[in-house]
């Protein structure tokens, strides 16, 4: 084989601590290497042309590039060698940037390590074979997990493009957190007025199948061909029949059920429809509070239901859907402020969270849109808002900024003044983060036009005095301790990852960070892709986000799906396991260990059974390769011979 080696300087990224010229000249002494050089930026257009020129001039049959991580530029160089007529798998990359130059300053040691890595890459390349991908059909149906505003946007965009969409929502209604909000910043437009029509669209589009009160049970398959099992949770109401008339809720004698939608501020009935605009507008029974389901004699709802929709015997059921791509839009949860002992740890009824205040402000909320204190129902006169509760606080394990609280506090303070013109609002803040279009102007308006008092400092503690709360904080600009007597304290609780985010990530085989937010493929250039092909992200499941950004990501993910679905077929990855039937001893161990179920029995003539890999299902993990006793199953492009060649060079 005739091999060419190209050592990249990467400006000073590599050349700064690696003698690239020496690496190239050393490479010339390796077996089969006929050409070696170093270049300023190998990934640049002229850099790639240099490779292509050398392939033609020197009759190269394989190319090694020693540069950055293959995750960065392997596709670039594979395309480059392919253009020059080589098979894209006759290319190897030695990572001498992330693995060498960036992590050590010892020039001599770095150069030596770079030479070793190049030697290993050359040794492997000598055992490489051309590989060819095949084509397989794409199932042009989309699964959207999560029915918040990001998921709704993604589903509607794709449905508008003519695709079939399956939407799965854990709660019994779609709309997510946005459905609970009263108004939205910075325009103060009504949240349900702008979200409502989109929710209705989801229910009315014929090519959107909505599974509410459902969760993902399992996911198998791969890009273009996923099989998804969905658990439809028992709602004890036949939704086919339910008309959403609300008679059952009216008559239900269990009147102290938890009111999740109103964040615990009111009480719900055991059978209810969470809010008037709910989509789907269907009743469901909260089994925890239902008298009948807890062994008591009741069944009132079943008696009054005009369409006999109530079914106490209902069980969870599993449905299976075939899709080609998945958009994950599972949203976020809000920090539980009971971690803050100094703020009462949730014991004071008049110290509430931001989302609770949102329900109080809302006309469909527990107090009908009149601002009252939860403790005694009085109108508050002095309201204190405290920012960064569960944000930018390493002591409660939330060192990141939630990004939305500064804005929603300003909005709530403005709305408070609109509702109660005689009231005073105070905001304790550390910094004001308002980097959006018209955002900072909005915060200025809260201060200048609405007279909201902003105090720069954190709050040390809150304690009761009479029927009011004393908020003791600091004004760091003055360097004094300050105290505000308040009737109501609103804590701007921060954003955290959605409950169960980790379990879902494992089902989807996508990665998540230490706080449970899903990892995008590249923080800047691939913001809605994951590292699992065919799985995309939208909204706050990827990190704290406001509504405009969530909607933008929903549309972005939808456009990624549309570009995927623009093709009828996709190319398979040929780096999969392959069985040598001559040496296979039919022990079946590979079938047992394969985590993807990608290996099955194949019957040859005469009834002999041999293992067979389904190349479209195989993910190329190599477990079978490591397990196979006679080494009959080999992972292409990482065969035993290729890996041993590398190890031999390293140990030589």
């Amino acid at each position: 084989m005739r091999i060419g080696v190209f050592v990249c300087n990467c400006g000073t990224n590599i050349a700064g601590t690696v003698d690239t010229k020496r690496v190239a000249s050393e490479a010339l002494s390796f077996a089969d290497v006929v050409y070696a050089t170093n270049y300023m930026y190998t990934c640049s257009e002229p850099g790639q042309q240099e490779i292509q020129r050398a392939i033609g001039e020197h009759g190269l049959q394989g190319v090694v590039v020693a540069a950055c991580s293959p995750r960065m530029h392997e596709p670039t160089f594979r395309r480059a060698v392919e253009k020059a007529g080589l098979n894209r798998y006759m290319f190897e990359m030695a990572n001498i940037r992330e693995h060498v130059s960036w992590i050590g300053n010892d020039r001599e040691a770095n150069t030596q390590k770079a030479i070793d890595l190049v030697r290993m890459a050359v040794a492997k390349l000598r055992f490489n074979n051309p590989l060819f991908s095949s084509k397989m059909p794409v199932n042009k149906r989309l699964l959207v997990i999560g029915g918040g505003v990001a998921g709704i946007q993604a589903a509607l965009d794709c449905a508008d493009g003519g695709m079939d969409v399956v939407m799965v929502e854990r709660k019994q209604y779609i709309g997510g957190k946005m459905a609970k909000l009263d108004k939205t910043f910075p325009t103060i437009d009504c949240s349900s007025c702008i979200l409502g029509p989109k929710m209705v669209d989801v229910s009315q589009k014929e090519n959107i199948t909505l599974y509410a009160a459902s969760e993902i049970e399992s996911i198998s398959g791969y890009i273009g061909n996923f099989t998804v099992q969905i658990r439809k949770k028992a709602t004890y109401v036949n939704w086919e029949a339910c008309t959403g008339c609300g008679l059952c809720t009216e008559k239900c004698p269990s009147k102290k059920a938890a009111d999740y939608f109103n964040e615990g501020l009111g009480a719900a009935r055991a059978i209810n429809i969470p809010f008037p605009q709910a989509i789907p507008k269907k009743a469901a029974i909260d089994a925890q509070f239902c008298r009948q389901l807890n062994g008591k004699k009741c069944g009132v709802c079943a008696k009054v239901c005009p369409v006999q929709a109530v079914d106490f015997e209902m069980k969870d059921s599993i449905v299976t859907e075939q899709v080609g791509a998945i958009i994950v839009a599972t949203g976020y949860d809000l920090f539980d402020h009971s971690a803050y002992g100094e703020y009462g740890a949730g014991r004071y009824p008049d110290v509430i969270s931001g989302i609770q205040y949102e329900r109080i402000l809302s006309a469909s909320g527990p107090y009908g849109g009149h601002i009252r204190r939860p403790s005694d129902g009085k109108e508050p006169k002095d309201i204190v808002f405290i920012s960064c509760v569960g944000s930018r606080d390493a002591s409660v394990g939330r060192p990141y900024c939630s990004g939305i609280c500064c804005m929603y506090i300003a909005k709530q303070a403005i709305l408070t003044r609109d509702h109660l013109p005689e009231s005073n609002s105070y905001v304790f803040y550390m910094d004001i983060r308002s980097p959006g279009k018209n955002y900072d102007e909005f915060v200025r308006r809260a201060q200048e036009e609405y007279g909201v008092q902003y105090i720069r400092g954190r709050v040390g503690k809150i304690y009761p005095r009479g029927d009011r709360m004393v908020v003791q904080g600091a004004d760091t600009l003055l360097g004094v301790q300050v105290e505000v007597e308040a009737d109501l304290v609103v804590l701007a609780t921060g954003v955290e990852s959605s409950a169960g985010a980790g379990e879902l990530a494992e089902k989807l085989r996508i990665s998540y960070d230490q706080y449970g937010f899903y990892m995008e493929s590249h923080p800047k250039l691939r913001p809605v892709e994951t590292n699992t092909a065919g799985v995309y992200l939208a909204g706050a499941c990827q990190g704290p986000k406001d509504i405009p950004s969530s909607v933008a990501q929903g549309s972005a993910a939808a456009s990624k799906v549309q570009s995927l679905f623009a093709h009828d077929t996709i190319e398979t990855n040929p780096q999969v396991a392959l069985v040598n039937e001559r040496t296979c001893i039919s022990c079946g161990k590979c079938i047992q260990v394969c985590p993807f179920g990608a290996i099955q029995w194949k019957e040859l003539r005469g009834g002999i059974k041999k293992a067979e890999v389904l190349p479209t299902v195989c993910q190329g993990c190599g477990v079978c390769n490591a397990t196979c006793p006679p080494k009959a199953i080999q992972l292409q492009h990482a065969t035993d011979n290729q890996i041993l060649a590398e190890v031999n060079e390293l140990c030589a």
Partner: protein
């Protein structure tokens, strides 16, 4: 720090001071993002010349003289409210303690009375092996030129058995005095640097 209109950030910054505070306290002062929670939680903010948030800020800026000469570090009661509430997990009370030690070493204690109390307290321990309040308090009062302060409390305390006429008897009081000698010797033997094993060979207190 004298109230000046302009503080020269470069010229007034004492990097050694920042390093010394960090090494002695085990805390990273640059972690402080000036939220003010320590100041908000501190019961003595009203009495401090610089609230604790500003002590942290002055330390970040390397203002050695201002910090070590402040009254705040001596008025601090070490109640640890600042440490408990700090969102950045800084042990602020430990920083304050470190600053007190540095201030005493540098002989820049701004509160003479407090320094006298510490000195007399330790002298009492050295002399008697344990604090002798009936001796300590009059001496402290005399040295701080207010001889009759709290004098009226003495009979009631004696009646309750909280004060006694004679110092308590403890065993091996000379060994306690030795601790002071050893520390003093170590302190001044090599450029004020403490030796690693000060007591182990000779103590059986």
């Amino acid at each position: 720090m004298e109230r000046t209109n302009t503080l020269s950030i470069q010229q007034s910054r004492d990097n050694d001071f920042i390093r010394e505070v960090e090494e002695a306290s085990g805390q990273t002062v640059s972690k402080c993002y000036q939220c003010g929670n320590c100041m908000a939680s501190c019961v003595y903010t009203f009495a401090y010349d610089y609230p604790v948030t500003q002590i942290m800020r002055l330390t970040q800026l390397g203002q050695r003289d201002t910090v070590l000469g402040s009254s705040s570090i001596w008025l601090c009661a070490n109640c640890q409210a600042c440490t408990t509430r700090c969102p950045q997990n800084i042990d602020v009370a430990q920083v304050m303690e470190t600053l007190r030690v540095m201030s005493r070493k540098a002989n820049t204690v701004s509160q003479r009375d407090i320094r006298v109390f510490y000195d007399e307290f330790l002298r009492s321990v050295k002399t008697f092996g344990r604090v002798f309040e009936t001796g300590l308090l009059p001496v402290y009062n005399l040295r701080t030129k207010r001889p009759f302060t709290d004098f009226d409390l003495a009979p009631r305390l004696m009646w309750k058995g909280k004060l006694s006429f004679l110092p308590a008897r403890i065993k091996k009081r000379k060994k306690i005095a030795q601790i002071f000698e050893v520390i003093k010797r170590d302190r001044f033997s090599k450029d004020g640097k403490a030796r690693p094993e000060p007591l182990s060979s000779q103590t059986d207190i």
